[in-house]
């Protein structure tokens, strides 16, 4: 059951009283890749923060690989769910990338060789050896995004949650990231506005709007449904053509 996510009736209001999640139900199978789409303010980031207990639902339950996301299981849940934040400056807080990648495994109690192996393996996945010893604020946007990914891969998570992973990337960096993610075997939740990315990576898409899921469809069907897209402020890039841009799909 590793990598299975089960979200039932989750509601959440921020301390200022604003209700942001209005009963979210979502079941995701092990190894599945699902895109979470929807307009700004739809509650996508808020939902992501629930998946490893940064925020606690006011109603409803969440389990990951059968483990309830609750205080007594935070340690386990945070090992299983890797969260890549939208702003890499929030994610990378150590003086060098290597130390940042080591931060998670060190919290898990790894030391010495076991630690080094974890760190090197995670850096290898993102081709990050060349910037491992540099400080995060001197990296390019693409390098920083790969570094941020490595900091959660070093936890060997069963679920990867990525919040707008391609925002701020140039086309080449975006391409590299897509190829890296496509190779990863774990369950992936990809929050994005990038519809071509959703089509390429995720067979299934859900749309969040006003704090609830308003659609749960195959990504292929979604891109045909121009009304559904328009209702949720989603738009394909100008001139985008499924048949030529993604001949494999």
């Amino acid at each position: 059951m590793s990598g299975v996510i089960d979200i039932r009736g989750v509601e959440y209001s921020y301390p200022d009283g604003r209700k942001v999640l209005n009963g979210v139900d979502l079941a995701i199978a092990a190894g599945e890749r699902v895109a979470i789409l929807g307009p700004n303010g739809g509650g996508k980031t808020t939902l992501a923060l629930h998946l490893n207990g940064i925020l606690q639902p006011h109603a409803g339950t969440i389990t990951v690989s059968g483990v309830p996301v609750a205080e007594e299981h935070y340690r386990e849940v945070r090992r299983m769910v890797g969260l890549v934040f939208q702003d890499t400056n929030d994610q990378l807080f150590m003086p060098t990338v290597r130390e940042d990648v080591a931060f998670g495994p060190m919290n898990l109690g790894l030391t010495d060789e076991a630690l080094d192996q974890r760190v090197d393996a995670a850096l290898e996945v993102v081709s990050g050896a060349e910037f491992a010893d540099r400080p995060p604020h001197h990296l390019s946007g693409g390098e920083r995004r790969r570094a941020a990914l490595a900091t959660v891969l070093s936890m060997e998570p069963e679920v990867l949650v990525l919040d707008e992973p391609t925002s701020g990337l140039d086309l080449a960096a975006r391409r590299e990231l897509i190829l890296t993610l496509a190779d990863l075997p774990m369950t992936q939740l990809v929050i994005t506005h990038d519809l071509p990315l959703a089509l390429e990576l995720c067979p299934r898409s859900v749309i969040m709007n006003g704090g609830r899921l308003v659609a749960d469809v195959t990504t292929g069907d979604l891109l045909e449904d121009l009304d559904l897209l328009a209702e949720n402020r989603l738009e394909l890039p100008y001139g985008f053509d499924r048949s030529t841009d993604h001949p494999g799909l």
Binding site: D90, F93, E99, M106, P135
Partner: protein, 254 residues
């Protein structure tokens, strides 16, 4: 800021000093600064000696004298104040260029000038030859409390970001016609300081969330420490003894 340089004060070179263990350099720098600080101001020869050793170290580190001079300007505001002391101090007076000044005040100026410039030179040499992550590692090897090191680490990591944010806010204000030349226009500065604080605070919350997400439980994990070799110990010991010895001789002699 070129590729690979970790901070503006660092000079990428491959000297002996660059290669020294950071904890060794930290001890040496601390020893030198303390010695300089306790040296009595009348021991002019001692300050001459310190200056000569620091100049030598600068050469060995392959740091250009110009670099050192520019960085020394950072202490200018403090030194400026020292220049007024001879005019405001009381007691025995003397004439310099036809102006009556206090003798004690002149010594005061000299004391601040010499110590500030020498002390700052040592710090500049340290940061020019040591990358910040290494300084932090050095501090932890020297058993500086973990909390202090975490705070320092975050300060260094986010200082540049906050400065950046401030810069962007200033540009945004200037782009809309703001020209902070008149005191009546100070308000936007004050309120932008407030906005900057809120932004920094929110950043802190998000960074904390990112730390929790990776299993942070409130204690910063520290890497295991490595030993340093004997020749470096000897070098550091020599520097510290040289400076401390000079300071003690100066103290006894005056």
């Amino acid at each position: 800021m070129g590729a690979g340089h970790s901070h503006a004060l660092y000079v990428h070179e491959h000297s002996v000093v660059h290669r020294m263990a950071p904890q060794a350099k930290l001890v040496a720098a601390l020893g030198m600064v303390v010695s300089i600080a306790i040296t009595p101001r009348e021991a002019v020869w001692a300050f001459g000696f310190y200056a000569a050793v620091i100049a030598g170290l600068t050469g060995v580190s392959r740091i250009r004298p110009g670099f050192l001079a520019v960085r020394l300007l950072a202490v200018a505001p403090f030194v400026l104040f020292a220049l007024f002391i001879p005019f405001i101090a009381t007691g025995e007076t003397t004439e310099v260029l036809g102006i009556t000044v206090s003798v004690d005040g002149l010594w005061g100026t000299w004391n601040i000038l010499a110590k500030a410039l020498l002390g700052a030179s040592v710090s500049i040499l340290l940061t020019a030859t040591t990358e910040i992550p290494d300084i932090i590692r050095g501090l932890s090897i020297l058993r500086v409390p973990a909390l202090f090191i975490s705070i320092t680490t975050f300060m260094i990591r986010y200082l540049e970001l906050i400065a950046d944010e401030l810069g962007r806010m200033r540009v945004a204000m200037t782009a809309r016609g703001y020209d902070p030349r008149w005191i009546s226009q100070a308000r936007p500065i004050a309120s932008s300081a407030g906005a900057l604080f809120v932004r920094s605070y929110e950043r802190g919350e998000r960074v904390h969330a990112a730390m929790l997400a990776r299993g942070f439980t409130g204690e910063m994990p520290m890497p295991s420490t490595e030993a340093i070799d004997r020749s470096q110990c000897a070098g550091v010991l020599m520097l510290v003894v040289l400076f401390a010895g000079t300071a003690i001789v100066a103290l006894v002699a005056t």
